[in-house]
């Protein structure tokens, strides 16, 4: 494994498979009455979050605690950053206290790269701007594999805000690396330049995009994009791209519906889809803990690190 996990491109296909296989074993720990192993005892992990996050921060923290790491949450609001310390200075101060790993969530793309250049600690990217969110893609792959037994050859359709989504970038990198047939779909105003050069099919017609899909993954539409700049209204978005029971009927009968959360019900996804039989959205959340345990364990050195 590399020193840091900043992007899916840091991982080979074999390493991705190793993480997913390791996560299987980690999940079993979460099913025990005493959900704790001593694997990372004596290791210090700092969760450095510059953006509000409930799901990801909680998931990392539970994963760290189940592995017996000493964890510390540092939540920094960007408004205090504007008048205060730079990311580099904060990082070097934390680094001076010799943590083993820093889990970073930050609104700027590439923030993890800056930290990795300045720190000896291992850096895990928990979402950087519009760039990547690698552990989300890993837990998505874990969830898909659990249901379908494989990634290769599956038709996976991703629908939503393709321009601003770090989940999309990580998922494209991972799923194409493992041989999936990836189709991405969204309004023309939210499709980044050159997306077709990443080995995916790009579509603006959601009914065609979901036809025959094994997996449909919805991406969140940010509130601030809903008022005219990228598309006219939330209502029009839902009518044109929202995932409804009628649309799902075009996919394969055993399709699974995914969403990285938090959801906008009635905007990108209908409630009866989110809560319906095809939805694996809460499984994704559950699997997130196991996958992050696997990442923490393997980055810390795998078997060498455990006692």
């Amino acid at each position: 494994m590399t020193k840091d996990l900043l992007a899916i491109s840091d991982l080979s296909g074999e390493e991705i498979t190793l993480i997913l296989d390791t996560a299987e074993a980690m999940r079993e720990i979460g099913e025990r009455p005493i959900k704790k192993v001593p694997t990372l005892r004596g290791k210090t992990v700092v969760n450095l979050f510059y953006e509000p996050s409930t799901r990801t921060r909680t998931s990392f923290e539970i994963a760290e605690k189940r592995l017996s790491a000493d964890t510390l949450n540092v939540a920094v609001s960007m408004s205090s950053v504007l008048k205060g310390e730079t990311l580099a200075d904060t990082a070097m101060n934390i680094e001076a206290m010799a943590p083993d790993m820093i889990v970073l969530r930050h609104p700027s793309s590439g923030a993890g790269h800056l930290l990795a250049r300045l720190c000896r600690s291992r850096i895990i990217n928990a979402g950087d701007g519009m760039h990547e969110h690698p552990t989300q893609a890993l837990l998505d792959a874990f969830t898909i594999r659990e249901h379908k037994g494989r990634i290769e050859g599956l038709k996976i359709t991703i629908v939503g805000d393709l321009l601003h989504s770090r989940v999309l970038r990580s998922n494209i990198a991972l799923l194409t690396k493992l041989g999936a047939d990836v189709c991405v779909c969204g309004p023309r105003t939210l499709i980044p330049v050159g997306l077709d050069r990443h080995g995916v099919t790009v579509s603006t017609a959601v009914d065609e995009a979901v036809a025959g899909a094994d997996v449909i993954m919805m991406l969140r539409i940010q509130q601030e994009r809903m008022h005219g700049a990228f598309f006219p209204s939330a209502r029009e978005y839902f009518n044109t791209f929202g995932m409804t029971v009628a649309r799902i009927a075009r996919a394969r009968p055993d399709v699974i519906i995914m969403h990285p959360g938090p959801m906008n019900r009635g905007v990108e996804i209908a409630s009866d889809v989110a809560d319906g039989p095809y939805s694996v959205i809460l499984e994704q959340v559950a699997n997130g803990v196991a996958v992050r345990m696997a990442v923490l364990y393997l980055l810390a050195g795998g078997a060498e690190a455990s006692d």
Partner: protein, 442 residues
């Protein structure tokens, strides 16, 4: 008197390209010819025959940061960087703090330049008061105080109406308006060229059209008004097309390209160092097709000037997240080597054309006294060592800032010495011991 003997003189204005002697008396060139007789008392400087003696290079796009941001650069450190880069004269942008929109700031810069006594420094005044794009600056006062051009560089003139009036008003004083072309609405919060790399890295994009749309607007306004517009730091192939279109119609338009835009592409965003803030500049590095178009424009004569857009920033300011870092890189001390290596040795342009781009045309566009080795002209001379192997080293640079993506680059061609007003202000010791006769005087 001083006789520069044995070098290859490249002086396009006077049609010279060969071995000539250049006789300097005090601050003037008094005679250029073959095998000039040597009077007693004349110091003879034997120039290696591989060296090029040319009119002093002029960089018409430099940010000196003084007054206001002296931690990045001062007039003195910028002038020192200039002469080390072979430039005998530089024109400095008005986006200081306070803005150079009044004679007081202009005079302050000129005073600092006189104290530094290295390169000639020509201030450029603001088009609008405070560079706010609302009302014209006191242009008569600025030109009277010594400003050689007007620009709101870095903050483009947003409205066509104000740009029209600026072109009209400036034409009374025979100064061009230098145009930083950028449609702010199209640029949005962009930090890099809108292309594959920015998309993959999750960086907000700036399309080439953000530049070309305003270039087309202002070329049209130059036609409307008869004013003179100079398009700064052109980066997009669409902008070059716009300039060609304007020139073909007889509009009074000229343009410049920076070394980084004819050498680098947006691939630098990802490699060798992902999110390196030293490849963040405005306009951004664009795609290979744009870079190649700039090279083509330099070769075919569409581009008039190479200018550096020297934009020093303190390393603390650059050691931040990519989207929070300031735009800009230094350029004064790398330009000549990049031009020689990537344009001349690459076979794209001749050394004569290089001297046109770096000296003749800059002087012509800003109506400066340099640009030739004419008898009677000020003795501003740059001596180039076209085959000198140069390794770029930020540690050795004279600029106060070190924000360049070229550190460690190995390039063929450099500066041997710089003479301003007959006074040797820079000698490159790595170019050999020949220059001792020049008598470097600080």
């Amino acid at each position: 008197m001083k006789l520069l003997k044995g070098g290859r003189v490249v002086d396009p204005v006077n049609g010279r390209n060969g071995v000539f002697d250049v006789l300097i008396d005090g601050d003037r060139i008094v005679k250029v010819g073959r095998d000039l007789p040597v009077d007693t008392g004349t110091m003879v400087v034997e120039i290696p025959s591989a060296f090029v003696v040319c009119p002093g290079l002029i960089d018409i796009h430099v940010h000196l940061r003084e007054p206001g941001q002296e931690h990045k650069e001062t007039v003195a450190t910028g002038a020192a960087a200039a002469v080390a880069g072979g430039f005998t004269a530089i024109a400095c942008m008005p986006n200081t703090d306070p803005v150079n929109d009044n004679a007081g700031v202009t005079q302050y810069i000129l005073k600092k330049a006189a104290e530094a006594n290295l390169a000639r420094v020509y201030p450029i005044g603001a088009v609008s008061r405070g560079q706010k794009g609302e009302q014209l600056a006191d242009i008569a006062e600025l030109t009277e105080a010594g400003c050689v051009a007007l620009t709101d560089d870095g903050r483009p003139v947003a409205t066509a109406l104000l740009m029209r009036r600026a072109l009209e008003y400036a034409s009374m004083f025979n100064v061009p308006v230098i145009d930083h072309c950028e449609d702010q609405t199209l640029k949005g919060e962009g930090v890099a060229h809108e292309g594959y790399q920015a998309s993959a890295l999750g960086l907000r994009g700036i399309p080439g059209e953000a530049e070309s749309i305003m270039a087309l607007r202002d070329i049209s306004l130059a036609e409307l008004t008869g004013g003179v517009v100079h398009i700064a730091h052109m980066s997009a192939r669409q902008t070059l097309d716009a300039v060609r279109y304007g020139k073909s119609r007889g509009a009074r338009v000229t343009c410049e390209v920076t070394p980084h835009h004819f050498v680098l592409t947006d691939d630098m965003l990802a490699s060798p160092e992902p999110y390196d803030t030293n490849v963040k500049m405005n306009p951004p590095l664009r795609e290979a097709a744009d870079r190649d178009a700039m090279v083509q424009g330099l070769a075919d004569g569409s581009v008039d000037v190479v200018a550096t857009d020297h934009a020093p920033h303190h390393y603390d300011e650059k050691r931040v997240e990519f989207d929070r870092a300031p735009f800009g890189i230094t350029g004064l001390e790398t330009a000549v080597s990049l031009c020689l290596d990537r344009l001349v040795h690459a076979g794209t342009i001749s050394i004569v054309r290089l001297v046109e781009l770096l000296s003749v045309n800059p002087a012509r566009i800003l109506r400066l006294s340099g640009g030739s080795l004419s008898e009677g002209a000020p003795a501003d001379v740059t001596i180039l060592a076209p085959d000198l192997q140069v390794t770029v080293s930020v540690a050795r640079m004279r600029s106060k800032s070190r924000n360049t993506p070229f550190d460690g680059w190995s390039l063929r061609g450099g500066v041997a010495a710089t003479i301003v007003g007959g006074r040797t202000v820079y000698v490159n010791e790595e170019a050999g011991s020949w220059a001792q006769g020049l008598g470097l005087r600080a």
